[in-house]
């Protein structure tokens, strides 16, 4: 029982420190990325934590949506903070370009509405 508590604690500490490792910039020394000059968020600590959450969220949603597990890591790694936030909030509803064929469907629906409202008369037998 004691060991398991100790384990839990060390896992917690390790995971927090790993999160922190991930947040460090890639550049050496204290050169800041040019993106730091453009980002306007003043609470960067908060942003970093939110980004970690967004990353986990996007990863989970992608797997749920049928993306191959092997590809998920690579796709998530490519995204910057802003993109991660966007996807995390909007992945289910954002426009997903897929096919041009549905145009016929749209025309059909419009015709059907016009038909039902009696404006046109092309579907009925004469």
């Amino acid at each position: 029982m004691k060991i398991s508590l100790w384990r839990k604690c060390s896992i917690a500490v390790l995971s927090v420190s790993m999160l922190n490792m991930g947040m460090m910039g890639a550049a050496s020394a204290a050169i800041v990325d040019t993106s730091a000059l453009i980002a306007t968020d003043r609470e960067a600590d908060l942003v970093a934590i939110r980004t970690q959450l967004a990353r986990a969220d996007v990863r989970a949603q992608m797997e749920q949506m049928g993306v191959d597990a092997a590809a998920v890591e690579q796709r998530v790694a490519r995204l910057n903070n802003h993109e991660l936030h966007q996807l995390a909030t909007d992945m289910r509803n954002a426009p997903a370009g897929g096919d041009a064929l549905a145009l016929i469907g749209a025309v059909f629906v419009v015709l059907l509405i016009l038909e039902l409202t009696g404006v046109i008369d092309i579907f009925k037998k004469r």
Partner: protein, 322 residues
Amino acid sequence: MAKRAALATACFAIFFCVLLSGCVARGPMISARSTELEQTPFFPQKRFQCGPAAMATVLVASGISTSAEALESSLYIPARRGSLQVEMLATPRGFSRLALPLPRNPASIIAELEAGRPVLVLHNYGLPFWPRWHYAVVVGYDPVDDVFVLRSGGKRRQLMRSRRFMIAWHYGGRWAMVVLRPGETAALDDAQSFLEAAAHFEKVASPADSHATFAAAVRRWPGEPVAYVGRGTAEYRLGNLPAAAHDYARALQLDSAQAGARNNLAQTLVDLRCPHRALAMFEGRDLDSLPAPLRDASIETLRGAQAAAAVTDDAAHCESFP
């Protein structure tokens, strides 16, 4: 009674359609010249795979060797039966290319075509409340017939009346992007969005690609401090510290409040064995009021400079630095 209700509905439907199409009324036509990028490759799409096909089209046109099939695993989302704009913009970065979203007007599409770059657009062929999204690539525009030329779906050369193009584009949120090589800037004069895209690119780009990108920005927009900071950081990563110092200093000249440029210049001066000069950069500056990443980096740089200054004088060559 029922008939009257039906008539009212019909009137409303027609009124609604007219109203909607009114929103996208054609506007002033955009170019007198006819353009068509005939060399643009074509990747006929498989079912639901217009995202990878359109992306392959613009990437290959920009000199990358890839295919629609190769891009499927990084763009397609099975449950959505399509590809998302965010991932479309993120993909070129993995191929040493910059993705740039365009301003939401047709003039920007034409300008990019005239600069020789095909434009990836999102169309909506359904209705605003019943969308059917589709990615296509614009490769030409003909002002005489008023048609756009597209690589789209299974059609190598689809001609689309500009009115229809504009309606589908408008319902698609007027979203368009181009792929730029390192060293290219966009056709239209929009420094802010270019520098933003370049800053995202910097995080994954090689120092040489990053240098080419920001050097082009410096040439195009010599008054933009962020362009100099980007080029300076590329110089720093390439090991050209004196050149980096000069770029950061130029950025500070243009905007003395540019804390990122100040921090990077100070750090470069420390690396050049000029810690006293570096310390002078921070004199009278309130670091605590900076946004967090700049504050933390500046405090770290300041501490490093203090530690170095305590044990050594500035090297003789420091006179030549700003």
